[in-house]
């Protein structure tokens, strides 16, 4: 089972991100479960969503306490929420920012994790570029596919297009692809750095 | 469908709950005596025939009417309608114009040639009726309906009595009178006119009559003794009217003074106007309030130019000058002389101071008691002599045609009982339907319809009828003003207002009955009955 937790704020598509991810996993023939940890339906409030993927039926209903991957859609939450609680030492972290972890002041924090599994990605920029709106969730899923290899970009692409009809789906898919490429490159960079 | 237990119920199941057991008082339908019926001297069931006229069923209404009175058209003209005086509606707005509706029905019957109900099966009994005025004709009619043979005799050349010889034609056109008399005669009556009965005992025995009805009227004009220079210029009103009726009017001159205060005085004055008098002055000893003549008669007379000298009495009639003495009323309302004298130019003087009855035919009937010039009778109208009945103006009562007609009916019933050897029974009278029992809310507000009146100019010179009849529409309207006091007229109020559906409507003309299984005795039906035809009575416990 692969467990993902997504942090963001109301209105950023946090819940949708988990759902799309689950649909992508489903499209690949896996069992998947997505659900939010909801508050009132207001813009701007911190929101968490979860997605599990497994080859067996998923029975548990607990929130993802021990995440295999964490996606942070809104970097401003870093100092408000215990974003990285329960992240597995083998886990992945994808943060939506154009800055580096060092710039965010998190550089030292990640000592126990695989450095090459921690990536920042300017998903909002990709979203603005493709969609014209700051909705980074599809892009982040593309980045997630690149980072974790738990899901294919194709599946993300399918799920995004299933979620968003027509041109909107097209553009979200494009943003996902852009992020995918970005993260792939960043990964290669990190791997290189690690080997060096 | 098998219904869920208890929660879901089948219609009609509440009939098992007999809520009538809650009742401590029960409503009952009653018929009360309407004041109009109560007041009618002829005993007409006025409320009933108005009820029948209301939907426009005029023939049925007329038939109801002639059950009691064979003279609707005559009555509709000359009756002084005590019914209207008694009418409860007068306390609401104005009395129902019963008289006008009666005339409408009477005229319609003549127009359409409706016949009176046929004579009854022959009883083999024979009755002599002396006098063919309203009393005699009424008795004749009712006797024929009871199956008795009638011999009707009168000294006059025509039937009708005072209706013909006392009431001027402008009030009662002769064609109307003739039509209604003819209908009675058509029932099979042995009529002998111009025959004056001299001795009732002889007449009865010779004819072998089982009973006799005396209805000889009061044909003799009373005289007052006043000094008169030329007695030929003094005549009595009865004679005047009689001669006019016989187309033999006396010459009265331009200035005519009538002395008296009754309807006859006014008839005489109005007749004088029609005979060409420029001045027709009624001299009366008392004031207007105490005048016995009917108000509408006075009104009509005044409109026609008749004048009245109130509180005046005759002192002397000198040639063409009449000397009057002014009177005043004492504390008891009696006129007292003042000594004050007035003079009046007069070509003739008509005395209208009352009429007397010629009872000479009773000289050999010692058992018939006569007092103060009139015959004493029992409630059955029988005199002191067995089998001899009397009525009309010759018995003590108010002298109107309507009273006489009532006498005729009552006498006929008395005679019927007598000749059959039965005791006469008076039908129980229902309790009076008083105004306080009427729920006036329910009646539409509507003013009484005015009878058209001939324009003044025309009636001053002719004997054409003064008061016109109602159109059908107006008659219907007037009939519908009836409150139907004390008698169910099927307004459905009781049927409608019962919260428990405990009134059963039986259908048109069948009225209603209470369903005491469910009537809780709330009394709304009683309260909301417009005409007071429901009483509440204690339940027997």
């Amino acid at each position: 089972m692969f467990q993902v937790r997504i942090h963001g704020r109301g209105g950023q598509g946090v819940v949708s991100a988990a759902e799309i991810l689950s649909v992508a996993a489903f499209a690949e023939g896996r069992h998947a479960q997505a659900f939010p940890s909801f508050g009132s339906e207001r813009m701007g409030a911190p929101v968490v969503s979860f997605c599990r993927m497994d080859d067996r039926p998923i029975r548990t209903r607990e929130p993802v306490m021990e995440a295999d991957a964490i996606i942070v859609q809104d970097v401003t939450l870093i100092h408000q929420v215990d974003l990285f609680a329960g992240l597995s030492p083998e886990g992945y972290l994808l943060v939506n920012t154009s800055r580096s972890f060092d710039e965010l002041g998190l550089g030292e924090f990640f000592g126990e994790f695989h450095r090459d599994r921690l990536v920042t990605c300017p998903a909002t920029e990709f979203a603005l570029e493709e969609l014209g709106r700051p909705l980074p969730n599809a892009a982040l899923l593309g980045g997630f596919a690149a980072l974790t290899r738990e899901i294919t970009l194709d599946a993300i692409d399918t799920a995004v297009r299933e979620r968003f009809a027509g041109a909107v789906g097209e553009r979200n898919a494009a943003a996902a692809t852009a992020a995918y490429r970005f993260v792939t490159l960043a990964e290669e960079e990190l791997v290189r750095a690690a080997t060096n | 469908m098998e219904l869920p237990f208890a929660i879901t119920l089948d219609v009609g199941s509440s009939h098992a709950n007999r809520t009538g057991s809650w009742r401590v008082e029960r409503p009952i339908y009653v018929d009360r005596l309407p004041p109009c019926n109560d007041a009618c001297p002829a005993g007409e069931n006025i409320q009933r025939w108005l009820y029948q006229a209301e939907p426009g069923d005029y023939e049925m209404a007329w038939r109801q009417l002639v059950e009691d009175n064979p003279f609707p058209a005559v009555m509709g003209r000359i009756c002084y309608h005590l019914c209207e005086t008694a009418c409860n509606r007068a306390q609401l707005d104005e009395a129902v114009g019963i008289n006008a509706v009666e005339r409408f029905l009477g005229d319609l019957a003549i127009e359409r040639g409706w016949s009176l109900p046929p004579a009854g099966a022959e009883s083999g009994k024979r009755v002599l009726v002396v006098g063919a005025g309203p009393a005699g004709l009424s008795a004749t009619y009712h006797l024929r309906r009871l199956g008795h043979q009638v011999r009707l005799v009168d000294s006059a050349p025509k039937l009708g009595g005072m209706m013909r010889f006392g009431i001027p034609a402008y009030r009662l056109p002769r064609a109307v009178l003739d039509a209604e008399i003819t209908r009675i005669v058509a029932l099979g009556v042995d009529v002998e006119l111009g025959h004056t009965v001299q001795d009732i005992e002889v007449e009865r025995n010779d004819g072998g009559f089982d009973a006799v009805f005396l209805a000889v009227g009061a044909q003799l004009g009373r005289r007052v003794e006043i000094p008169a220079g030329d007695s030929s210029r003094v005549l009595d009103a009865v004679s005047l009217l009689h001669r006019v009726a016989e187309d033999d009017p006396p010459l009265l001159g331009r200035r005519v003074v009538v002395y008296g205060g009754g309807d006859t005085a006014l008839d005489a004055a109005r007749t004088a106007r029609r005979l060409g008098a420029t001045d027709a002055v009624v001299v009366y000893r008392r004031n207007r309030e105490r005048m016995p003549a009917h108000g509408d008669q006075l009104e009509e007379a005044l409109v026609e130019g008749v004048t009245v000298r109130w509180l005046s009495t005759l002192s002397r009639f000198d040639g063409d000058r009449l000397v009057l003495e002014k009177m005043r009323l004492n504390d008891e309302g009696f006129p007292e002389p003042t000594g004050e004298i007035e003079e009046l130019d007069a070509d003739s003087l008509v005395l209208a101071v009352g009429q007397d009855t010629d009872l000479s035919l009773l000289d050999h009937a010692p058992d018939v008691a006569v007092d103060d010039g009139v015959v004493e009778v029992l409630p059955t109208m029988m005199t002191g002599e067995s089998g001899v009945f009397a009525g009309g103006d010759s018995v003590p009562s108010e002298r109107t045609a309507t009273v006489a007609i009532g006498h005729g009916k009552r006498a006929a019933r008395g005679i019927d009982a007598f000749v059959s050897g039965r005791a006469a029974v008076n039908a129980d009278r229902h309790e009076l339907a008083t105004f306080d029992r009427v729920n006036t809310w329910y009646y539409s507000d509507a003013q009484r319809t005015r009878r058209p009146e001939l324009e003044r100019a025309r009636r001053q010179s002719t004997f054409d009828e003064v008061v016109g009849g109602l159109t059908e529409e107006n008659a219907l309207f007037e009939a519908r003003r009836c409150l139907s006091c004390g008698n169910c007229f099927e307004c459905d109020n009781c049927f409608g207002v019962c919260p428990d559906n405990a009134v059963i409507k039986l259908g048109p003309s069948l009225r209603y009955e209470f369903d005491y299984d469910f009537c809780k005795g709330c009394g709304i039906c009683v309260q909301e009955c417009p005409c007071g035809a429901i009483d509440m009575v204690p339940e027997r416990i």
């Binding site: - | 219609v11 809520t19 809310w441 539409s444 003003r481 459905d492 009394g523």
Partner: protein, 342 residues
């Protein structure tokens, strides 16, 4: 029997029936074959105005709909006295659910009829004043606002009678109830409170709003018939005196209702889409004393310590109604004729 051009019918349209009227102008209640929607054997008190009003209204609705009618009933006297197991007094399909939900239940019935293709079956919901102006008002307002195809009838007897005469939002000022006792300096119900539900209904801009009393059957039936000719939310407010709660004589039920109208205390009118379109004018203007003094719930206003001040305040309410609705009409007295002509 002839048909007459005469416009005068003896009892005009004041009495229940009138043999002089053409059949079509006669009331439903005068019909031997009326439905008797609320039938004999019910357990209403003697002289119950509500039992009367309910039969009047529903029989009229039955005629107007050709018998295609369903009634929904709120909890209350009418429900309790009509359907105590094992007996029902209703001859029409009838449903009772709760005190406060009759409008919504009726909405459901109407929706079901529509969806079942039985749109010809019409729905009447009925409640007392408590079930209408108080506990049922939320559902009623919702039904109005959605313009559901329901005629809602309030049988207003101005208090909670079923539970023993407690004050409702329809209880008039100064009236004694078990929760507004006739004690203290301001005995009875207070002034300045209460809901005027017909006007609240009008504020919803619904198709038809009318008031009526059990004292004027023709008027009541015409309003029911009119209401049933229309679709959408409709409201009929019928004043039904309660001998028990008002302390009036059982046989005075109709009289009391009549006086409520004739004093001006209960304006009788019709409104469409929120605007008054017709008023029933006062026929015989009557001082409020005549109305109040025959009800024990106002007994504290009369007698030794009579409260002419309070009576004057009630008269002022009547006068205000008369002015607001224009209840005095010169032609009022000829109404019996006017209506038949119309």
């Amino acid at each position: 029997m002839t048909t007459q051009p005469v416009r005068f019918y003896q009892v005009g349209s004041f009495a229940v029936g009138n043999r002089l009227l053409p059949d079509d102008d006669r009331t439903v209640q005068s019909d031997q074959n009326r439905t008797n929607s609320l039938d004999s054997g019910h357990r209403a008190c003697q002289g119950c105005g509500e039992a009367l009003g309910a039969r009047y209204a529903l029989d009229a609705a039955m005629r107007a709909t050709g018998g295609r009618l369903v009634a929904v009933n709120a909890t209350g006297c009418l429900e309790v006295f009509s359907t105590p197991y094992p007996e029902t007094s209703w001859r029409i399909p009838w449903l009772h659910s709760l005190f406060g939900n009759a409008p919504a239940v009726a909405t459901g019935v109407a929706a079901a009829m529509k969806v079942k293709g039985k749109g010809d079956v019409r729905v009447v919901a009925q409640a007392g004043d408590g079930g209408t102006v108080d506990i049922g008002f939320g559902c009623l307002s919702g039904m109005f606002e959605r313009n559901d195809d329901v005629l809602f009838i309030c049988y207003d007897n101005q208090a909670y009678m079923n539970t023993g005469v407690q004050r409702s939002g329809a209880t008039p000022p100064a009236a004694r109830t078990a929760t507004t006792e006739a004690v203290g300096p301001e005995p009875g119900n207070v002034f300045g409170q209460g809901k005027d539900l017909p006007r609240l209904a009008m504020a919803h801009d619904i198709r038809y709003v009318a008031t009526a009393t059990v004292a004027d059957l023709h008027d009541l039936e015409e309003k029911v018939e009119r209401a049933m000719q229309l679709h959408g939310a409709r409201y009929l407010h019928i004043l039904v005196p309660c001998p028990l709660g008002w302390g009036s004589a059982p046989n005075d039920t109709i009289l009391v209702a009549r006086l409520a109208k004739e004093t001006g205390l209960f304006p009788v009118f019709e409104a469409e889409y929120g605007k008054v379109t017709a008023v029933s004018p006062i026929r015989h203007r009557t001082p409020v004393e005549d109305y109040l003094s025959i009800q024990r719930r106002y007994a504290h206003l009369f007698g030794e310590h009579s409260r002419t001040d309070i009576i004057a305040r009630i008269q002022a309410i009547a006068d205000q109604n008369i002015a607001t609705y224009g209840l005095i009409d010169d032609e009022a007295d000829s109404r019996g004729q006017k209506e038949v002509t119309a």
